[in-house]
Symmetry: D2
Subunit: 356 residues, 4 copies
């Protein structure tokens, strides 16, 4: 049991604080012999790193990843893969104001109650900076899964504005700063988020992660269900408050005769005629796309003045300056992909262990 470790056979342990000298992770259980270079990981790091548009935090972090153990002559050795990223643009001064005050919606209060101490500089360990190492680990997980498995995320809602699914185009997600698969909605979001920023407010988002090419048979009843672990994985991402698989909440309202995906024989075996289950039945993958959606609440650190209390137990108010994402949901998309990759890689190894 470890609070800072994720996965069972493909195991990721992260460490480091937002304003510490560096952050890192250890990935254990990686199969040996897999070609792996820093550039393979950096590719994914670059998609999450801050400061790439005016819609994310302006903190300037190159997030250059170094592999410090676990590879030899360009291949994994089967021993723990350690990766490190230097923190280069901390500005702890920005946080002086909140050293003594609890920001509403943030972990300030709960960390202090639990531990009796917290590193308030950049929120310490509670900062989404930790997710950089999830993305690094996800890069390794993708290598373990191989090229047959494709994992992609799209932002499908920002604030109250959802995309039009009829216009879904994966290619579009690479063309706008929102990972939005619907070009028209992306434009609308631009205006919406500019307004949000100007008002010193923030916006939430819904992200959809889709894994294609996942073989049938991954996952494990009863408490190791693929969807149960995906739910836990996504909910562990900062600011996530909801998760659904396939049609999710909408299935509660459907009649039984349309809720279940019918089957027919195809050329290569059984095929499903729909995918309302999101690629998972009884906790085990069906071979269809694995589809997960999660909601990210609006960034808690905003300029708006809000009521709170301080460490001395006095009523006060707080306005958070610093450099914050107006919509943290955007950068959660690559993180969601990484968590999907880690869960699938873990289950691939677990399946191989038991079923050969």
């Amino acid at each position: 049991m470890s609070h800072n470790t994720f996965g069972h056979l493909f195991r990721v342990t992260t460490w480091g604080e937002s304003h510490g000298p560096r952050i890192g992770c250890v990935v254990d259980g990686v199969p040996p012999g897999i070609p792996l270079a820093e550039a393979d990981i950096q590719h994914w790091m670059d998609r999450r790193k801050p400061g790439q548009s005016r819609f994310t935090t302006q903190r300037r972090e190159p997030d250059a990843v170094t592999i410090v153990s676990g590879t030899f002559e360009g291949r994994t050795t089967g021993t723990p893969l350690a990766m490190i990223v230097e923190n280069v643009d901390q500005r702890s001064k920005d946080y002086d104001d909140i050293a003594e005050t609890y920001r509403p919606g943030h972990a300030d209060y709960t960390y202090e109650v639990k531990y009796g101490v917290r590193d308030w500089r950049g929120s310490g360990r509670a900062s989404a900076r930790e997710t950089a190492m999830r993305v690094a680990a996800g890069g390794v997980a993708r290598k373990v899964l191989g090229e047959g498995v494709a994992i992609r995320a799209a932002v499908v809602q920002i604030g109250p504005h959802a995309i039009d699914r009829a216009r879904w185009d994966w290619a579009e997600t690479e063309r706008n700063p929102f990972w939005c698969p619907d070009a028209e909605t992306a434009k609308r979001w631009e205006g919406f988020l500019d307004g949000v920023r100007k008002q010193g407010s923030s916006a939430g988002a819904v992200i959809e992660v889709v894994a294609s090419g996942v073989p049938a048979g991954l996952g494990a009843p009863i408490y190791g269900k693929l969807d149960a672990e995906l739910a836990g994985a996504m909910m562990s991402i900062n600011a996530v408050k909801a998760v659904e698989i396939g049609q999710g909440f909408a299935l509660a309202a459907e009649p039984g005769e349309s809720a279940a995906d019918e089957m027919r024989m195809g050329n290569d075996g059984a095929v499903f005629l729909s995918n309302k289950a999101g690629g998972v039945l009884g906790g085990i993958s069906t071979g269809q796309d694995v589809v997960v959606r999660f909601a990210v609440k609006p960034t808690s650190s905003i300029l708006h003045e809000r009521r709170t209390v301080d460490r001395q137990g006095r009523d006060t108010t707080v306005r958070v300056k610093g450099r914050h994402d107006p919509c943290v949901g955007i950068r959660a998309a690559p993180v969601g992909e990484a968590m999907m990759a880690c869960v699938l890689a873990d289950h691939l190894l677990r399946h191989r262990a038991q079923c050969g």
Copy 2:
């Protein structure tokens, strides 16, 4: 790592199939000295057991629980608590039809793909019968949590019909066969579900579980977040496809200034002015009610004829007779309570371990 074990310090391992001779569980890590009798557990078993109204399966199972180890002179000893329930009303014959056919929406196909074998009698291990032992374990967890923590569930939606939250009355949940907190809606559901049954269809549901009296400080960043583990726990229940904490998906649409719960000093320390976060910030409990909602899809086993394939790879259709819950969501309510209790008990011990 275990597929059939749940929790870390308060650990539940279940075993047994729907049509095997008996089912059971082992609860490890229970603190010693806690008064515990079979009646304490039976109380909770009785709330989940089948055949209590025309809206649940007609299988007649007394679900009488026996404690076979782990107590001495009426108290827990700190050694593993084993509990067993006899299966008395299996009718494997009902399942002959589906021995060779995969029911849409069920785990039949995925179990067969994964394991190359499945116990088709009553769905074997994939049956919701397993959840009886979760409820037994939940009864123990409640004892660990003590009387200060109250855990209650309500069904807040059946099919497309949601309750009116303005009429919420916890006492009402004990007065209708749906755990419905809204008397008017309960009546409406009666008619709706009678129709569903007559049509040989089934309905989904949304369940809300609320834990009151949870001390602030439970939960553990980063991957042991209280809400992440609750999400995994609820998603591991049969037929669950979505989970949210507090306002959940709705938070994605809210502006930052209203999404976070403000604070003020109360008589006994800080209080929150709302509970949109569902009692969890940064993965750690705030001291407010912990609120989780999950969606249960409609029962997959229905009388409607549906298209599917058989084990020989032939297109066919299936209509499932047997004795099935028209709305499995109803009996998921006590199971959701049990999972909440188990997660909280586990985190109580984990918190005590690290923070004393």
Copy 3:
């Protein structure tokens, strides 16, 4: 983490007390499709069960094992395998004397200090009765390992009397009540143990467990070393106080040039010219016999009067009547085999997970 669970992928959880109604175990992670009947397990149970000679306890337990879940039509299903054994010959009355007194060398005192309560009837959970379920699990582990792996134990010392290794004959272990591979020493032990019994004393023993046919490559540096896990496994058996691998302690006295096993090419690859390492290098199996030896202290429950204290904190003395093994080491031999089988099965699955 679980105190009553052993293994990682091949996971064994045991429950039950010496004088409870029954004892049992759950084996999780078993590969599906393995032919398995109760008789396969009973074969091993019968080797450990009490009352088979005058040199073991006279408690009469048939130790008939029942498989209550995890198989279907004679094969494992991949779901948890639950096994139960009824306790039929408890005589709790024998223990009345020690309900208030701590037997020297026994767990009475430490259980009471730790838990504030103990089940004194037959020592409750601390009784070696628990090892019956280890043997049951070991029977499953052997099936997972397949017929290519043979695991055998021999008792190589009882009291101060060691065997003559020059006379080692495995067949002999089946012909005397001591699992002794040296016929002459077996005879000597007979006289020695008769004397021990008459004096109301007890004797210790050293057991050697050898696994042949173990493929090279099992085990995992750094903390999952095959020998580290074997050491923990053997030390977890009741009354064991020492463990060594291969030449063990004797290697400390050898010069480097003779301590390491040299290699030469054989017909089927590299061969070792000796096996001082006991089949494990760097925590990974070499393909040679895996050899473990462990020491069992003399039974603590003896007729000799000994000084102790009681629960009220008074000096007193104790003589233990009941029905006890004069040399528990004898029945530890099949238990040692079972633990070896479980460790190897676990590592086989772990190896397959990571290295395919």
Copy 4:
């Protein structure tokens, strides 16, 4: 489950290779609020670091430890404590000869069989260099245990030469380069090891680790026994082949009436009249000194020519130059202390979790 992680609640994950740029560890589960500075850790690192006498390797490593996360203003925060040590004196060239050849007694062959690849530079991950991070983690564990618990190791045998226990003086262990508690034997070892070095040979050793002040009640039956975990912990140290608790193997030869430690009431509760059990009964600490002994085989890398095979499957011989410890057992003493500290800290937290 993780191959590179040790412990359950106090969890240590190590990473890094002998000739990589750096090595490190993550310690998770540390209670918050404990004063901790790098100097606290460095104190213990300095005792293990190489090059302090002519009897250990001449590799020059300052082993300066840096804490990169998990503390704030000089205290632990409850979040993962990451520590890093730079490797500064690698000479990979020394290892060119063995890149293609398997050294007898070393992990070269087994790593290659298992993983299909190995980092031969300084033995990569199989090097005892990894133990530096165990010592760092042990330094943290000591802080968790507090000043009431003292953990000390002594080397009690080098090659065939054991100490005279009658001359045991803990203070002496700080005055000679062997951690030898017997001044006369220390002198004898000096001559003996000079001879060993001149002959290009190596010597084994036996180390005894003693923990005083351990409260009664730590440890957990059945598979989490304190002695079982100590056995696994010590056996996981490089080159260790045997472990015993208290009198260990000698207990097998003792009669029951003298093997168990009698009890009497003392001023502060029950006291034991001897400590043959090594401070552990039924897997739980008794309050006496916890005593563990382990054997370290002679260094495998020696100048003596030995027969072996190469990667191409040809018979060959090998003589290992490089800079190796003539007796690795000496530097294993601080490592044994560290493992004892980690096991005890883990069990302290586990005990607190369950028993409050």
